[in-house]
Symmetry: C2
């Protein structure tokens, strides 16, 4: 393509609302334009890359026998009521009515729709396993859209759903998808990790996130350099502390006056006790019922773990009124001993290892020391409820762990029978018996991948595309296209590259070389071929890879050979 | 592909709500599934054809230098307010709010969005002409969705928008698009006509519809067999009657008592006068202002012409109260003579040719005869306001016209400066002077094309695809795939066809030959190759084209040659 006929408008200035490198570079390189908060227009240059990502994903989905469909975006309330998600999904779901007052949402995900198709069309185990997938717009009414296309209200997703007759087949297919996702990440040139993750609003038995490593990532992951274990920190399991046994003498609880001291730090300093001697006692509302949650003072509660443990759909810290009702004291003096009323108490493993600990006394301006689990208070359960920290070890091999930030580009879920049961989706098994489908679902943020690639691969001059995703693989920059000789050489190189099926862009604009080079760098095209008076005199062109500062002179007859070689080794 | 791994569920029964052949066959062949009224899921088979249509359109848009973009579906109210269409568009526009109460619509068309892009990105005439296009879901809250994907609430469109520096360039580019649309129709195998059409909610200077001829079409078109003129009947111009001159003596108006006779027919019978002597006088509300519209008694008003003539955005027949206010008489006795008050009167050409005509007398139970234009009443304007009828002649060459029903698959508009003016979209011309863009816009119903093809090309057994759009071009039907020899031959033919890049489906199911043949016919695959014991004995297969009942035996080594030849002559 000739650049003069490409709708390309690069920008020198940094957009005021852009908050990450990829957002800045996508706007500056003219790939996308902002329509409104969280909503972007894909310009021709950007769309070329988006389609390349789409095609890579399509190929990998087809390879594992996925079948492409295309589903509506306006989804009827009725199906979402069957699974209960109409009520659970909350404010992220765009809802609207048609002129006849029928209610719809704009699909953020399509489990209900696909399960409805399969329950109506498939009857027998003979048709299983089955995987259907689509590419389509997805909608989420984000409270704070940000990072450009990375967290947008409207974005392009590949969503896939699989149906199986038994657990074994589900697991083995899940493994195939897992490998396909690895291939996709590899083909996109990612440094990434597949990590264990929580299941959130999708639900199901377990899930993995595909995390592209990037400082600007919204998610935090933790992984073991030794055994390969990796997890979203939300999900990451923490080992119980190594129990030291009852080495200390168990003392008698004793109230101490701690006027106006509410935090662990304040009380510790006042009592000259180490903060790890403290039991933090937090009052949560789990589906509106108060629960006291205990954890050693130096740790933080992982609310995802807590929700999963309690089996609740809503969780929030209680306000001062509830705290006072539950503990009989104002905020800052809660503790598990001498509670005035009945409240469920759950404790993190770390509490079980404490001896002669300190907590609030459920009395204004008082704490209590020398309290011991199972003697002075008995939690209903003791389990892993804490956030993993840097000094933790791998829950598998107990070796040290490493933390990274990441961008979630894919998420695979083993759903189990969550949707098939609630929607009564059954098939007849080998024995003619009705069974619920076992399901998996697998998403990839197609538009997000584009941003994630840039986030990992850029420099001060712009994007550095991997060859697979570059909107064009070669750009020819004649320093003066009006010069007859330079035009002739440029056109001939352009033609040769085209004939060899190389995606080439010819910068035929009447611009200074500096402008052309800046745009070539900004748009990240892997190979730049510069045609100047000097090079042409020697029947050569200047050859430069975007990712390297080096330039070399190439004899024009060798242009295809060199380009092909360099692209395949890029 | 092997049929056993294709998610295909053909149906024998006719869906109860299906109202046209294409709707029935798309459901029965398993191409689509209904989600809700006016909303369809594209299954793998249907999606293959849809993508082929998309690719044909893409190629033709690229050929005329169109550049593909992808725009959001949720469109902000603000841009729609700039053109005023937020208020004009009415109930067909799906509207919704986000969690911050910002208002959006689901895009039924993207003029505002694209004009906003161009006004922000383009500054100079040097970048013109420019054409941007996209494929995307479009939304219309149809009052009565019907005909399957043909009139749906959510459907796939290609919409294109062009920007020009002057009228001449706009017109010459319009002609290029016109030819591209002709190519698309030809490549889809359509019998069609491009007709002049009204511009409706899109607006602009003029437009053409691409009408696929079909009995079941929702639109009516009229065309001249002689000179090629063709028009939507809404738009079709009617010649004024051949004026006979004042051959009759102009008589004096005379009121006649016509008790309880309100219609032309009743009064004509009573007065023993021909209905063509009557002037029908209709009271309309044009943007809420009453207007009297006159037409010869045997003709009907074309409200599209009337709206355009009056330049109003809303038009409706007045109710009894308004009629009484305007004429002083109840419904059925209106006429242009002796009106009690002032009201604008417009007349169709046919009224100007009448002499000694009859109309209502604006008095209960009275008509008036012998009235004459410009003597007894003076309309503000006399123009073409009537519906064309079978006995009309071509407005160009005055030869007889033919009527047909049609399905609109494409619509091209010369918009002029309607959007650029209201949105202040300007560029600098050669002289550095600010000018409004002159625009065109061009839509094609991608999903509708699929239905229109079927509407034109089917028989009692199912769809008959043209090769270009067939989901697969060849189906191999072994009569018994469990038979080792038949499997071996089928597999080898399958492999050979695949190696020659022929889209082939192998029906490897364990089904009776009758079932396989029925599905092959229903899904409309152009070539069926049947492998049976008898054919294999002679090293042959049975070769049948979908569109013909004939079968022939082909030597297996000649399979590629024959298939290629027959497909290229299909």
């Amino acid at each position: 393509m000739k650049l003069s006929s490409l709708f390309l408008h690069t920008k020198r200035e940094i957009p005021s609302d852009a908050d990450t490198v990829s957002h800045i570079l996508m706007i500056r390189s003219g790939m996308i334009r902002k329509l409104t908060s969280g909503s972007y227009e894909w310009m021709p240059l950007g769309l070329r890359t988006l389609r390349k990502v789409e095609q890579i994903i399509r190929e990998e989905m087809d390879r594992i026998n996925g079948q492409e469909v295309s589903l509506p975006l306006l989804l009827p309330k009725e199906l979402w009521m069957e699974t209960g998600r109409w009520n659970v999904y909350g404010k992220e779901l765009f809802r609207l009515k048609d002129r006849k007052d029928a209610e719809f949402c704009l699909g953020p995900t399509h489990e209900e729709i696909i399960t409805d198709i399969v329950r109506n069309e498939v009857r027998s185990y003979k048709e299983l396993p089955l995987m259907l997938y689509q590419f389509g717009a997805k909608f989420r009414d984000e409270i704070r859209p940000r990072f450009g296309v990375m967290r947008a209200k409207e974005f392009l997703m590949k969503d896939a759903y699989s149906f199986h007759a038994d657990e074994q087949d589900t697991d083995s297919y899940y493994q195939q998808v897992f490998e396909a996702y690895n291939k996709i990440c590899t083909r996109c040139g990612f440094k990434y990790r597949a990590v264990e993750a929580t299941t959130g609003a999708i639900g199901g038995k377990f899930s993995h996130e595909f995390m592209v490593l990037a400082e600007t990532g919204e998610e935090e992951i933790v992984w073991c350099t030794e055994c390969g274990w990796a997890s979203n920190t939300e999900k990451a399991g923490c080992l119980p502390p190594i129990q030291q046994g009852n080495t200390d003498e168990l003392l008698k609880p004793e109230e101490v006056h701690t006027p106006n001291m509410r935090t662990v730090e304040e009380v510790a300093a006042f009592l000259k006790a180490a903060p790890d001697k403290f039991i933090k006692s937090l009052i949560y509302l789990a589906d509106n019922i108060p629960v006291m949650v205990l954890i050693q003072g130096i740790y933080e509660i992982n609310e995802h773990k807590l929700m999963e443990h309690l089996g609740c759909t809503e969780l929030m810290l209680a306000g001062p009124k509830t705290i006072e009702t539950v503990t009989g004291a104002p905020l800052g003096f809660a503790g598990p001993v001498n509670l005035p009323g009945k409240v469920k108490i759950v404790a993190d493993y770390t509490v079980a290892a404490l001896q002669n600990a300190i907590s609030g006394a459920n009395k204004k301006d008082y704490h209590i020391k020398n309290i011991n689990i199972n003697k002075d208070f008995i939690p209903e359960s003791v389990t892993d409820l804490r956030k993993i920290i840097k000094t933790d070890t791998c829950p598998g091999c107990k070796k040290p762990v490493t933390f990274n930030r990441g961008i979630e580009v894919g998420h695979t879920f083993k759903l189990g029978t969550k949707y098939s049961k609630s929607m009564k989706a059954t098939f007849l098994d080998k024995n003619g018996k009705e069974q619920f489908y076992i399901m998996g679902c697998y998403g990839i943020g197609v538009s997000r991948i584009v941003a994630a690639v840039i986030e990992q691969s850029n420099d001060t001059n712009g994007i550095i595309w991997p060859v697979n995703l570059a909107p064009f693989t070669v750009i020819i920059t004649p320093v003066d296209y009006k010069d007859v000789k330079l035009k002739e050489v440029s056109d001939s190189v352009y033609k040769k590259l085209q004939e060899n099926n190389i995606d080439v862009l010819l910068d035929d604009r009447d611009e200074r070389p500096g402008v052309k080079f800046k745009d070539a760098d900004l748009t990240g095209i892997p190979v730049r071929i510069t045609v100047s008076k000097k090079t042409v005199e020697n029947n050569q062109v200047e050859f430069k890879l975007r990712k390297s500062p080096d330039m070399k002179m190439i004899d024009i007859p060798k242009i295809i050979e060199t380009t092909t070689y360099e692209l395949s080794h890029y």
